[in-house]
Amino acid sequence: MSIIRSLRLLLTACLLALMALPAQADDAQAKSLLKQLADAPNAKKGAVISDIASSGDERARQWLEAFADGKLAQNEETGDFVIVLENRGRNWTVADALSGEEIGEVSRRDLDSIRVNNALRRELDGILSVIDLTVQDPEKRLTAARELRGSVDETLIERITALMEAEANSDVKAALTEAIAIYKVDALGDLDAVAQLSGSLNIDARAALTNAARSDNAELAAAAQTALDQIEQKLKLNNAAKTLYFGISLGSVLVLAAIGLAITFGVMGVINMAHGELIMLGAYTTWGMQQLLPGQPGLALILSIPAGFMVAALAGVAIERTVIQHLKGRPLETLLATFGISLILQQLVRTVISPLNRTVVTPEWMSGSIMINEALSLTLNRLYIIGFALVVFAGLMLIMRKTRLGLEVRAVTQNRAMARSMGIKATRVDIMTFALGSGVAGLAGVALSQITNVGPNLGQNYIIDSFMVVVFGGVGNLWGTLVAGLSLGTINQLLEPWAGAVLAKILVLVFIILFIQKRPRGLFPQKGRAAEG
């Protein structure tokens, strides 16, 4: 406890150092309050404490905490009040109580600690628990009010009730009401309070209700049980939403990883086993960017999007020109050759960079989470990736449907000879298509660098999944890839709770293997003459 307090102390000290200016005006009043505290006899110190607490001074909490720890002292020579930061040895490190600035070491003999006794400590504890409820910032008050739930006792109840009634902010008020209700259910077995708690997702509220449900008072027990059942319902709903979120999040990762393949394999019919390594290159590009721009992970990440695309696209073109074009019409040989390339790329990264995983920093605006309610919060980085996946998908759809390149790609895919005779340069289309598919793999790598380890094996972990998604969705169908990716991600997450992560993955693989046997052309097959080839 005291460690946390002193840490908090340090933190506030630093903060205060930053905000020293506005505080100065009140310094005279503050000093006089502290002087009263030092001079008052123990019996009267309680009143002074209340004055300090209700002064509204931002530094009040810090002084009182220091006082409770016996770390508030007066310098005998200067008469200034200090907070002891380090009290080992002869010389103690202290900070000025008013400015919060560290002022170095002072001999312990020169310091006169303001004494505190147990009765005062109890009073201080009570005051400190609610002191944050009186600050200006409603966000801080809300946090303080939420933290109070489950820790209200009879010494605090009056104060909190008074604060609750005076509170203007409705969120804070609700949180305080809940805190009071938890206390009432727990300590008093209050029926009205039980009703107030029904539907609450707070863990302390549930604990209080669970206790009440076991009480001898049948009426109370029944009411508590009803409330608990309602909570259970709500939790189930929230859990379902959470699973769905994770499922969609995993699914969008799969879509990202597979969508490039859907182009090279689905549209061009090229089996590129090095696709995973193109993803890996994208991830390493992000890492490289962050090395180039130290201290600006966010900017580096944004720049990595075009850079990752380019790096992977160029690598893809190199692969297409050197190997794949010589193996046209021999899909199995293409598969083997590109697998060889994937081995070379992996080993290249191991030799040139490192066999170990690299850390890619998540920028601040991507970390953290959005709290929907107490049982459900959505992590930001996954939310971004879902959005990114959808944007990439929409972009690809546009390219394939609306641009000249898309038209030419579809023409070459359907009838190469005819397309050529109409003046389409098939070779150029091949290169562009492959560059596009590879570039998208690079984009997937940039996104993946935010949620997984960036290492030489990154690509291998995704290649089988990617193929499964494309085949499951129906080759040559971008919509199929989207639906397949999202549904496989969700299925995986649905299975995980009762099967475990590994078994869930196995089950999904087995499911796809069986599915392909049943419908060899996937969810959305092409039909008719075009499918015969």
């Binding site: 089996i271 190997v323 010589h326 193996l327 021999r330 899909p331 199995l332 040989e333 293409t334 598969l335 083997l336 050759a337 697998f339 060889g340 390339i341 994937s342 081995l343 070379i344 992996q346 080993q347 290249l348 191991r350 030799t351 089988i464 193929f467 499964m468 085949v471 590994v502 078994l503 993955k505 196995i506 693989l509 087995v510 796809i512 293997i513 069986l514 392909i516 046997q517 049943k518 060899p520």
Partner: protein, 386 residues
Amino acid sequence: MTQSTNYGQSWLTRPFTERSTQIFLAVLLGAVALVTFLNLTMPEDSALHVSTYTVTLMGKYLCYALLAVAVDLVWGYLGILSLGHGAFFALGGYAMGMYLMRQIGDRGVYGNPELPDFMVFLNWQELPWYWYGFDMAWFAFLMVLLAPGILAFIFGYLAFRSRVTGVYLSIITQALTFALMLAFFRNEMGFGGNNGLTDFMDILGFDLRTDGARLGLFVASGIALAIGYLICRAIVGSKLGRVSVACRDAEARTRFIGYRVERIQLFVFVVSAMLAGVAGALYVPQVGIINPSEFSPLFSIEVVVWVALGGRATLYGAVIGALIVNYAKTVFTGVMPDAWLFALGALFVLVTVFLPKGIAGLLAGLTQKKASTDKSVAGTAQEAGV
């Protein structure tokens, strides 16, 4: 007579009359006999002595060669590129491993007469049902054939019936072995999880650590390769072998002249899986361990490149490829381990782009050139039309 195949002969005796098979068997069995002789008779300090370590290494290569022959049977003659043959190899290996585990008896670290060490360690109370019978050699050896055979049968039945072919089949065979790898990594499966099965002591009553047992296993591997080769030759030399090639090149046509393509594919696939299982079973006692890494997709696809290097649809090419690549691997990983994956990767690319018919194709090209100059060819006009 230019006619190389005797269509009228029984399928079982036909291989013995084939020139290429005779040469192959002579070289293989001769080499095995020579190594055995040198190992047994030459004094250790002699330059001609073959150490037991080398013998075991060669035994391992022979197992790989048998696996490569199995892959060539389905890829070369049936056109099914299996990227999951490592799974059958590993299943055969696990069946053998389970037998060897049970042979340890109460000599394990924990001294439990019934349970293998890893089960005691994981607090298993009793032997799972699927371990029953593996204390008996005949049962375990039967399982070496049946475990891969049944998996291949179920998988192949579903896949071929639905006419899943080409790259789709390749991808799902890869998914199959990947799923099995994940499954065998789980401790709950009861196959030793990560660590697999190891610390074997004896096989059929012989101490595995003795030179004699190791030599015996080497010879057994050689004989298994010879028999496996003969079985494959018998199949590919038969009418069924020609129908397989027909399925490979023109599946629809084969159906329209009345063959049940899916059944032919299934039969050959299952035979191939069983051969792979035998290879795995002989491999395990020689290397002393079987763990889930044998299921890794990388291993399976590596086998394919052995076959590609040696030359598809020749069988002996598969053997040559397996021996060369694995010898190179041993040398490379000893001298410069980092370079091995570069070399292997380059091999994949170079073989597929520049050497589509493999080493066997090169050899055949040389001999054919000679033959075609000897022979006055009838129907040269038709050839010009190609």
